[in-house]
Symmetry: C2
Subunit: 404 residues, 2 copies
């Protein structure tokens, strides 16, 4: 008789976005025609850049002709794309990453979810709180997290690193020693970052404790300040302790186009086993590559025109972030993020809970955001707004909030 | 200190295709300019159908315009594609599959590798021998297979079901009871199939033993005979015991375009837990959808023109299969497959091992195939040729083999 993976049944329901959706539906039913502005979702809205579109059309044409048709892709991804990544994302920042240390994938969500496969169930993870839910949920599925306490909303075998106003939303080295540390900078949901020196302290800590850092750099393109590292490999020794996950979703609008990559340096070993070889085996066995035409689209992002065009999109979103950030500050809110990230994280006023503020904003300003408590217990009392809307809507939303 | 998943280190090296590649390289170095014909690989060679190319271009244009741009896809995949699948692959065969029982993915390799996630480590699997290596390897990675014996090339905790000339390459119900049964019909590598009555016996067996069947129907489009089932759900009771995995790779040439789907009926339960809900959770947590433009391409396969054009490709490959099959029979070989599948499975002559025959064919006919022993111990003494080459090359290869 077959048996299911019981760990799945331990997962509490994921009600955040469905609850938001229900509340919005209830509101629109009661207020037909209400002009609701949605600044809640982490999805981009600008179309793909012209250079990317051009590359897609050209690759589609290749797929339609016998001479240029492409079947199965190389296991690690096409070299033209891995070379562009090595040159533009790493060499340009003084970091040498070999082509066979780069694994092209269908996105950072898959990679950050699947990376746990190469680790033993018997590892203790540490996560920031609040946090992108995929890190915790996929470890629950793997049986690594112990027992869930619905009162505290915490798992017994997970080390939570609170990121709040008190520590400027930068996690502190945990008291208990973890085996696997998830870090995401610039951060989703708080929009905060840490400096290169601060990240170096994490690398030093991981090396000392023989922990591995899973570094999610999906929002790297939004960094505007000089002392913020663009890759963890800018830190000394990081190649011996860190895996880096990158995405094309937010820098080039690929949320529905699907492309990402993971870097595992060959120096990263457990005893004498290279994690690079383990991931290569997983990649070759449980995945068959990102589509050729999508990999060509990814390479177009790194061309001169592609870089210029995608930078304009990032500038557009970051101008929205500025509008939100400055508008909220002018309205008296305590605000972080929005400088090196497309997320603005605000403290709810008047001791409102995250959900109370959600209702208040929906009812009084017809603006939809995301309750911070949905990202973890330390997110309670905070609220996330995103910069991915249109400029006009963003401006209007902030005017409404200011006039409350 | 972090610990790796030790199961990965138990995997024996995957040397099949690299050994083939080395042998071919050695031969071409010794025989420069030799006109080698490759009938070894399972990759398609015809370009994507015009209707698919048209759909891709159109979807790319949508992605380049703000009004029609698509971000994150729905968790299960776009409804237009799931509806086309439900109508064309199931309803047309008298099978009702609901839209939320269909999960769009990036391909059958990912799905057949990842499906193990929703099952407990404590399940015993049964596989055909020879077999597509992904089923076994991914179970090794999950820790389900016990100890490897390099002498027998078998895992201690896997039930092997030999498929040889003696049983017409159709597996028999195993003596020992499995929990999870992997079946692939039409079969890779043997090219064989079983009848609807024979498959019904497997469904009855699974229901009786409370086992689950993972049914890989990636080669369904190649079925030419009437009494061969196109989906396992043609069998009574299959919705209570079977998961079906499908691919666009071989029916529409999507090997480098990446699209597939998995069907999990809601009736398939363990105690009261629906496997559909477990897979939905995995799909939503560790995957972010196939690209919109690829899903549009998939939908184009189901249009009237798309069906006609992809059928022409299948006919082209199956004509190659006929050339190979009939040519080998004329040359005195014992041959199976090639009638409902693009694979021809031949018994090596003169008691040659699979690798001896590989060397013989390479040296004497300059034809490259795949040694049957690479797919499992019961593949020893067999050899696989594929129908995915050009007609001209296929014809020439068979002429050479006939003249040996």
């Amino acid at each position: 008789m077959f048996k299911i993976n019981d760990n799945y049944t331990k997962l509490p329901g994921s009600y955040l976005f469905s609850t938001i959706s229900k509340k919005v539906n209830t509101f629109t039913t009661a207020n037909p025609g209400a002009d609701i502005i949605r600044l809640g979702i982490g999805d981009v809205t600008l179309p793909l850049a012209p250079k990317v579109i051009e590359a897609l059309h050209s690759a589609v044409d290749e797929m339609g002709t016998k001479e240029t048709f492409k079947g199965y892709a190389p296991d690690l991804g096409y070299e033209f794309l891995r070379q562009a990544i090595a040159d533009n994302d790493y060499k340009s920042r003084g970091v040498d990453i070999a082509l066979d240390e780069i694994f092209i994938s269908d996105g950072a969500k898959s990679d950050s979810g699947n990376i746990g496969d190469i680790f033993s169930v018997d590892n203790k993870i540490a996560v920031c709180d609040p946090v992108y839910p995929v890190y915790v949920d996929t470890n629950v599925m793997a049986g690594r997290t112990g027992v869930y306490d619905s009162a505290t909303e915490k798992w017994s075998n997970v080390i939570y690193m609170p990121c709040t106003n008190d520590n400027n939303f930068a996690p502190e080295l945990p008291g208990e020693t973890p085996d696997i540390i998830y870090l995401c900078f610039p951060n989703n949901p708080t929009g905060s970052t840490i400096t290169k020196d601060e990240l170096q302290a994490w690398v030093d800590y991981a090396l000392k404790e023989r922990a591995v850092i899973i570094y999610d750099a999906a929002y790297e393109a939004y960094i505007s300040e000089d002392n913020v590292p663009h890759t963890i490999y800018e830190c000394m020794g990081a190649k011996e302790c860190a895996i880096e996950i990158r995405s094309f979703s937010k820098n080039a609008g690929f949320t529905g186009t699907r492309l990402g990559f993971t870097v595992i340096p060959k120096e990263l070993k457990s005893n004498d086993v290279s994690l690079n070889s383990l991931w290569a085996r997983r990649h070759g066995t449980k995945f068959n590559g990102a589509p050729y035409i999508i990999q060509k689209a990814g390479a177009a992002v790194y061309t001169e025109e592609g870089r210029k065009q995608t930078q304009e999109q990032i500038d557009y979103y970051m101008n929205n972030a500025k509008v939100i950030r400055e508008g909220l500050i002018a309205a008296g809110y305590s605000v972080s993020g929005g400088v090196n990230a497309p997320y603005i994280w605000l403290k709810t006023p008047d001791r409102m809970t995250s959900w109370e503020f959600f209702d208040y904003l929906l009812n009084e300003a017809k603006v939809v955001g995301t309750p911070g408590s949905g990202f973890g217990p330390s997110g309670e009392g905070y609220f996330r707004l995103t910069a991915f809307g249109t400029y006009e809507n963003t401006l209007e939303a902030i005017e409404r909030i200011k006039s409350l």
